[in-house]
Amino acid sequence: MTEDIKNLIIEYVKKEYLEEDAEEEVNENTPLISSGIVDSFSMVSLKTFLEKKFNIKIPDEKATPEAFDTVNNIMNLLKEFNVT
């Protein structure tokens, strides 16, 4: 299940935030925010995706650049909402 969620998020990031012919690789440890793949404004759409997909509400104080910086960090955040 955890692997499925992880892959789902990775695939979403690739589809929505990378160019079709992008050369970057995205895995669970790839920096997303600090590398600029997902900027601070776009983070809102990633947050909306997670909320919608897992039927949760992530409060703004938990939606920090650090919490969203890698898929692994996002997985840790989701654990707080019992999404594993």
Binding site: E19, S35, F41, P65
Partner: protein, 566 residues
């Protein structure tokens, strides 16, 4: 002692000749900004001084001396000329904050080109609109962003050259040119184009309430104001390590992220990384940054992480802090005194002004929450909104207006004379913002005078968003307004009425958000979408955006009947 010394004395005895003399501007018929940002510093004997310390998001660092800037910008200038780019041609820079961006900027100026800097996060439609308007001849980009150019190139007949700076020949499509600044043959000597002081230099696109974004055209003599404001407001000296956090896709990133600091011969730093409080403090500590020019949005994000985090780092190197982009609230000033032992100095200006026009100065009392006072050489006032006469009563709100004539004032909107002329009333340039002036001459920002959305210090035009929204298959009509946001001051909110057969739900909301993000930019992406049955309209059918905005801000809606007749 600060560079400006006594503000009152400077203001009363001011002459732009101070800047012209210090720069030796026009000596031997040379007016080209490119020369003043590179060759001149080397000729003065500072070729070995570090001009640029660049750090990537992985922590990798590159340094360039002023002589490096001189030689590499020569390489770029020669390359462009050899490829048929001529003086006066528009050349777009479309890159992340990599060293090539900064040095290419100087190179284009040297060969007489007009730079069109565009934010690399722009989506293809935002890019198309601006390249099409400027009839841009060449674009300089990277592999990462080349895809966006490829998808619109056929619609841009004027775009002859697509130059990719990190390609080395691989992964290019037909008609694209690979160019590597560092591995190209060095060009030790290149005579900068002998342009006149009024020759166009930079074309920055900015958003308005109506119509497409417009190109504010600046000229080479803008450097007279950019140099002196960098010296007197940012207070930079050649002993400083300076950090401007703005992206050169926007005017702060060029006027004070390239021209001002390099004309002063200072060492400047660039962090090409997304925002992270810890990374920013580490960056300041590592490079011993002394002067820091950033934005209220960033300051508010730092505030969220508290003062305890500041204590983890030795950032006592900081000596002067300045802010720009949107008004800095009093809390930000007070917090920075607590966190860094010194206040942020708010500065006010805009794309059209080209340089700081109203600000707080080192050595002058900071009134937290105030924009400060006009720069010496700038006559600023607030005008009555109906008569356009200056308001004499302290505290009364009016339109911020400036007497035209300062060196960095924009000279035109690109091929839009009517729009340019509409910005002037009664001999004043109208900034489009409202403020009051207190009894001590300090300006106090109130808000914008139009529907333009200021999000994170960037202006976003509602018209451009609404036009793009209508291209989404589910959208029948829409309105975009700014809604209050604790960090970004405003964020985009869209009101959307759907076409028959579409159902309002979270999937559709996300689909519309991503549609706008990719088409225009992350800044333009609505952070919230409210689905409505229909939108309030005037009797002539115009959407009453002001009414929607007033609701978001909890303001009095007032007499709707007047709006209905708009």
């Amino acid at each position: 002692m600060s560079n400006i010394g006594s503000y009152d004395e400077r203001y009363s005895k001011f002459d732009w000749k101070i800047s012209i003399d210090e720069l030796e501007y026009g000596k031997n018929g040379m007016y080209n900004i490119g020369y003043y940002c590179s060759d001149r510093i080397v000729e003065k004997g500072f070729g070995d001084r570090i001009a640029l310390i660049w750090q990537g998001f992985k922590g990798d660092v590159k340094e360039f001396t002023y002589n490096d800037i001189r030689v590499y910008s020569n390489v770029i200038a020669k390359f462009l000329k050899d490829n048929g780019v001529k003086s006066g041609d528009r050349v777009c820079i479309f890159m992340d904050r990599i060293p090539e961006l900064y040095i290419t900027f100087v190179g284009i100026l040297k060969m007489g080109g007009i730079i069109q800097p565009l934010f690399s996060a722009f989506g293809e439609e935002a890019l198309f609109t601006r390249l099409d308007d400027a009839k841009t001849k060449a674009i300089i980009t990277t592999r990462k962003h080349a895809g966006k150019v490829r998808r619109i190139r056929e619609r841009l007949p004027a775009l002859e050259k697509v130059i990719v700076v990190d390609a080395e020949g691989q992964n290019l499509k037909p008609g694209e040119i690979a160019f590597n600044m560092e591995t190209s043959k060095p060009v030790d000597s290149f005579e900068s184009e002998k342009v006149g002081p009024e020759a166009p230099s930079v074309l920055h696109y900015t958003s308005g309430t109506t119509g497409k974004p417009k190109g504010a055209l600046h000229v080479h003599s803008s450097i007279i104001a950019q140099y002196l404001t960098a010296k007197w407001v940012l207070d930079i000296t050649t002993d400083d390590i300076y950090w401007c956090t703005a992206d050169p896709g926007w005017v702060t990133g060029t006027s004070y992220g390239i021209i001002g600091p390099w004309a002063c011969g200072v060492t400047q730093t660039v962090l090409d990384s997304g925002f992270s409080t810890e990374k920013w403090y580490q960056f300041i500590e590592k490079h011993k940054i002394t002067v820091w020019y950033t934005a209220p949005t960033a300051i508010r994000l730092l505030m969220k992480d508290g003062t305890n985090l500041v204590q983890k780092y030795d950032i006592s190197c900081l000596r002067h802090l300045i802010s720009v982009g949107e008004p800095l609230n009093a809390e930000g000033v007070i917090w920075s005194e607590k966190a860094f032992g010194k206040p942020f100095h708010d500065s006010y200006w805009q794309t059209e002004t080209g340089s700081i026009v109203i600000t707080n100065y080192p050595g002058m009392k900071v009134k937290p929450g105030s924009m400060g006072k006009p720069f010496p050489g700038i006559t600023a006032t607030v005008l009555d909104q109906k008569t356009f006469e200056p308001i004499k009563t302290p505290g009364k709100v009016g339109l911020i207006a400036l007497k035209p004539g300062w060196p960095s004032m924009f000279r035109a909107y690109w091929e839009n004379k009517e729009m340019y002329e509409s910005k002037f009333k009664n001999g004043w340039y109208i900034c489009g913002d409202r403020s009051s002036i207190d009894g001590d001459g300090y300006f106090w920002f109130v808000g914008r005078d139009d529907d333009v959305i200021n999000t994170g210090g960037h202006l976003v035009g509602p018209f451009e968003i609404e036009s793009a929204l209508l291209e989404h298959e589910a959208v029948a009509e829409s309105a975009a307004v700014g809604k209050p946001d604790a960090v970004n001051m405003e964020v985009v909110k869209a009101f959307v009425a759907l076409k028959p057969g579409y159902e309002a739900n979270a999937d559709l909301e996300l689909s519309i958000m991503n549609f706008i993000r990719k088409k225009l930019s992350p800044l333009a992406m609505p952070q919230e979408i409210e689905f409505v049955e229909s939108l309030p309209k005037t009797r002539s059918g115009k959407i009453m955006r002001r009414l929607l905005r007033a609701k978001e801000w909890g303001q009095e809606i007032g007499d709707v009947s007047t709006l209905e007749n708009d």
